[in-house]
Amino acid sequence: MTETIATDVAIVGGGPAGIAAALALRSRGVQRVTILERETDVGGVPRHCGHPPFGMREFGRVLTGPAYARRLAEAARQAGVEIRTGLSVTALRPEARLDATTAAGPVEIAAGRVVLATGARESSRAARLISGDRPVGVITTGTLQHEVHIEKMLPFRCPVIVGTELVSLSAVATCRKAGIRPVAVVEAADRPTARRPLDLFPRLLGIPMHYRATIAEIRGRGRVEAIAIRLADGSMCEIACDGVLLTGRFTPEAALVRPSHLVLDDGSGGPVIDQFGRCSDPSYFAAGNLLRPIETAGWSYREGARIGAIIADDLAGTLPPCVTTTTIVGGANVKLVVPQRLSASGHTGSLDSLQIRVEAATTGPLVARDGSQVLWRRNGRLLPERRILIPLSALQGPRAAGGTIIIEAAGSGSG
């Protein structure tokens, strides 16, 4: 006999966004709010980020990731959120119905609304199409941190780190704490992706940095033995190592969305939403890093809280109907735009901003236009993987409802 869980709002994923949505819903008086978490504990990725800073805005103090995750879990319990761990959602069905499995067997979930908050993950070696052998020891930061902080094991002792995003620094910190000694950092761009002065961190630790360097080949039969890199001047260089740590290049964990009835956005890799976080099936909402790779835990928390409040409005019947009036698309050099569409004309209570990421570094301008009419424009430097925002209010002012808004960041190229 398949168990059925009935709830007002089912939240898929118990990370910062999911928990924040749950707290907002409870504080607005929604009775049954259920977090569905496939891991053994809620808290999400911060559970294994064993370093600060987390929780400044949420808890008014600087916490490590695990401490922050525990505070989130505790807050959810105290607020009367129902938490189901060890429960894997396996399919999304129309009208807020979910299929799931637990250790005991299959479960069905019948909810009033669903929040998808499944987060993001780093791209695998396969998805990056990296050349060479396929030995043991090529992993991502998420795996490293899970292995070190939760399983208390070492995936390698002297890896090469690939990438210089914010998470790469988190990786360096984890390595340092675990006694792992990275032998080099390799970055394809001519500068670190993460903001200064954080890029100084590996250098301060004495780890050689190679910019404008690409991976030519991974070598090794059983385990990684070396990595061959192509340096900026075209020459090749082999670095002996026992692992390769692939950091960053996040992609939304949209495994449930892709095969479902919900519309997926190829640009962001997450579900298409309107300014209220509503998916193409209006009984589904989405929040956090599933929407776009990638934001901080604090950002995801605030986004989740806003989506929670919006769903409370929706349950109270005060949300505008889910009818797309405007489509927003990324033009030249724009990698992703979220939300991808606007419902009705208002934005009261909606998300505040359009979130943008650019493909390549450029010196602006960033332009939002409707046909030839420029709705918004800003000059300045735009960098990949950095947060870029356009206030939603700027797009909805006096212009006639309907049509398509194009966001462009053509500018003068990289440099």
């Binding site: 990296i130 050349s131 385990r223």
Partner: protein
């Protein structure tokens, strides 16, 4: 450790052919040992293929290859339910992408009929599109081969060897055959796991078949010319765009690049055909992978932008000739099964039966007595279209979220009669880490669950932070 006992048969090599041969001889009543140099079965050529069950429609008429493929095909269908091995009935289309291709379809159709594959049928471009609406619309027609299907390329050989071992065979891993001598009717083999005595050696050493013969016989009857094949596996979302296996019009050297669903619910494109000398390394190459993706997108435009789940490469043990290199030497108590290129998965059971006949013709002193009531082990189903362990109660919990692999499945694969010997063996038995995230979420747990059990372990030590 091998004991001092005399085996009737030593099968050298734990690829799909070796596993099938070990099964056949065990069921026929032979005291059988399988010697594998790797830490697990399928460590060589058999780990990477396109996982198709072929009808033999395009194999050389009258060849041993077509005979073994068709016998293997029939036996697979006959035994698969008892072993709980899956079958995804897709059919295949040999698609003509230009006028020259279309002209060759006549000859391919004639060859199919000559090979006894009578249910092939020509499709017009409109019929091709009706069957596969996502295929690029500019085809010049196709030949439909309804009997071509998709199977699980790893559970099948594992089932063959498991059945052998359940019925008394021995399987010894990390046992490279380093030398040996024959004294009358008895071989004394030296292996890296100690000496093995046997009355017959069956060379199923795949990529190392010729080297084995040089070591033990002084010369080899064939020369292995490794041919690398690279593959790209697309996200499971791609499977909605394709039902039928899409085959190209083949050329002399290779069957060409295939686009097919996998039994696990993905879509696969490959292989390439790249000659190389190295028998150990089968690296992937970014440029080649991009080319494969482009080919897939050209065939099914909806695959543009589809995430890549996995990439892999394997070596096919081609020889200097196109045909299988199978021969028996009664004098030296030796049977060679060499040059089994890309059709080995289909042909394995047929090859095993053929080798058993060659052995019977050797007129051994004692006749083998086939087992009266052999054990039929049931494999764990990993096929996406059939019930998986996670859908059954009390599976422990889900360890690999992408492929929904249960703790019960991982524990079974690490224990049992033929436990996983390395990480890849564990993946092939369970699919843990083979999904979208490629281990991002599960590898740490798999590392903990498999601690101390695998060659080249996931973790190199404990962390005392």
């Amino acid at each position: 450790m091998p004991d001092g006992d005399l085996f009737d048969v030593a099968v050298v090599g734990g690829g799909v052919v070796g596993c099938a041969v070990a099964r056949r001889f065990t069921l026929d009543g032979a005291r059988t040992v399988l010697l594998e140099r790797g830490a697990d079965i399928l460590s060589g050529a058999s780990k990477a293929n396109s996982a198709l069950l072929h009808t033999g429609f395009d194999a050389p008429p009258g060849s041993l290859e077509v005979a073994c493929m068709q016998a293997g095909y029939r036996e697979y269908l006959e035994i698969r339910e008892r072993l709980n091995l899956p079958l995804l009935e897709t059919g295949a289309m040999v698609v003509a992408w230009n006028e020259a291709d279309r002209e060759r379809l006549d000859a391919i159709e004639a060859q199919a009929r000559q090979n006894g594959v009578d249910n092939v049928r020509r499709l017009t471009p409109a019929e091709v599109l009706a069957r596969e609406p996502h295929l690029a619309p500019d085809t010049h027609g196709a030949l439909l081969v309804p009997g071509e299907h998709v199977i699980d390329p790893w559970s099948a050989p594992l089932a063959y060897l498991t059945q052998a071992v359940e019925n008394g065979a021995r399987a010894i891993f990390n046992a490279e055959v380093t030398g040996g001598s024959i004294d009358g009717s008895e071989w004394a083999l030296q292996t890296s796991k100690g000496p093995v005595r046997t009355s017959l050696v069956i060379n199923c050493a795949g990529l190392f078949g010729d080297i084995l013969e040089q070591r033990l016989l002084g010369s080899a009857g064939f020369t292995i010319k490794p041919r690398k094949g690279q593959f790209v596996v697309f996200d499971k979302a791609a499977a909605t765009f394709l039902r039928t296996i899409i085959l190209p019009v083949p050329n002399e050297r290779t069957k060409g690049v295939v686009l097919t669903r996998t039994i696990f619910g993905n879509v696969l494109v490959g292989p390439t055909a790249e000659e190389q000398d190295d028998r150990d390394h089968a690296g992937v190459d970014e440029t080649v992978l991009h080319t494969l993706i482009a080919k897939a997108v050209a065939m099914v435009p909806a695959l543009a932008g589809m995430p890549v789940t996995a990439v892999y490469a394997g070596l096919r043990p081609a020889s200097e000739k196109k045909e299988y290199r199978v021969s028996a030497d009664a004098e030296r108590r030796w049977i060679s099964v060499g040059g089994i290129r890309s059709t080995g998965l289909t042909a394995a059971l047929g090859l095993a039966a053929h080798v058993a006949r060659l052995h019977a013709d050797m007129k051994q002193k004692k006749d083998l007595q086939p087992l009266k009531n052999p054990v039929w082990p049931r494999m764990t189903n990993l096929a996406e279209h059939l019930e998986r362990d996670w859908q059954k109660p009390d599976h422990g919990d889900i360890v690999c979220h992408c492929e929904l692999v249960t703790r019960r499945e991982i524990e079974a694969a690490l224990n049992g009669l033929l436990p996983a010997g390395d990480v890849n063996g564990l993946k092939r038995r369970t699919r843990a880490g083979m999904g979208r995230c490629q281990g991002f979420y599960c590898q740490a747990r798999v590392a903990a669950l498999s601690e101390g059990r695998l060659a080249d372990p996931l973790a190199v030590g404990a962390c005392h932070d």
